[in-house]
Amino acid sequence: MEGRPEDDRDLFARAQRGDTAAYEEIVKRYQQVAFRTAYVITRSAGDAEDAAQEGFIKAHRALGTFRTGAEPRPWLLQIVANEARNRVRSAGRRHQLELRLAEGYRPGGAAPSPEAAAVASEDSARLLGFVNALSDEDRLVITSRYLLELSGEETAAALGIPEGTVKSRLSRALARLRARVEAVPGA
């Protein structure tokens, strides 16, 4: 169909046949989710950029191992996330950057009253504060699954754990987060 974006699997199939233009399109399509996933793991934009870039390069080298017809996104995110974790390990230190709310965010995309917007923004800021304060394990699974909106399979690939473990870890993390939210009036 004219103008319809090519299916990701078709792109991967072309890339596997050595089509570099197809791989470049893959990089363009996935660079945001790859970069953000790496950022959630490294907490550093510089390290995330390096990890995503190296991940794409390694993925290209490993295209022969990609199973035709499989979902490409989890496969790619796994490689990028591995790179990100390697960087965290080799750096031997943790960045302390925390996620922040974007300025000027308008809940729901409409134009709420200034009061409503302020309240919504305050709620979000408080919730983000709780997420930032979670343990690394809880923060990673919640951020990947909800804030990045990765699927269960993608979250498993990004965290390097089985999908079943994602479910149980997510359930425990949500329970801990809920307990903190409910312990603070108005949160």
């Binding site: 953000r36 934009a45 390096d50 979000s124 997420v131 951020t143 990045l148």
Partner: protein, 271 residues
Amino acid sequence: MPELSELEARLTTLGRQVEWPPTPNLHAGVMAKIAAQQVIPLPTRRAIRPSHWYENRWAVAAAAVILALAALVAYQPSRDTIANWLNLHTRIKQVPVLTTPSPLPPGPIGARLGLGGYSTLPKASAAVRWPVLVPSTLGQPDEVYLQFPPDGALQGEVTLVYSARPGIPASVQTGAAVLVTEARGAVNTDFFGKTLGPDTTLQLVTVAGHQGYWIAGAPHVLVLIDANGNPRYLTLRLATNTLLIDEGGTIVRIEGNLTKDQALQIAASLA
């Protein structure tokens, strides 16, 4: 997918409110590095036998060889990546067919050789961020060319053109006696590459402590890989003997109908 709890719904909304760092454009750097890595790393100095290691390798290969000099890193590297790349300027790839170069188009040498716009030494020096090196053995260049992206390297590329000098005739391939091209090697978008046939030889050399590569023999093809990682075949040109050195972050390419000693003398006089 099961229905989201209120908390899960709030978290999903939160993800759209987060101030994520701007996503960098990774594709150009990725594709350029992939292009450079279609190749086998050149053995380190220690791994190279004193006698012509390349002769056996290439004789057995019976194929043309691409030397992709990834001297100019294709993306803004981080501190880690810079360290990794500092000693990784040369790669080799065997290819089944040697690309046939396009004939030189007519016109001024700058246009014919894709050197960029006509400039002068003071103007070019003012336009780039590194001190342009001039070989004192050749003196002031007869012409100076300057170019920036999309055709030149990210921080600019300066070429000094020298007409015939005593002992250095003008090349029928380039129309000049010596071309000296300089570009910064740390944050550029271009790679230099050369396609070497079996009659072309490669040697590692050292110039005032800087590593270099002497490429000599049959005229060879010069390929500039663009910022998207694609070889610029349209600007292929025949090059003559070439010395390429890394002058502490500035990549200098000296080419002409030169003997190796002449090229090394020119390189040693860069200041």
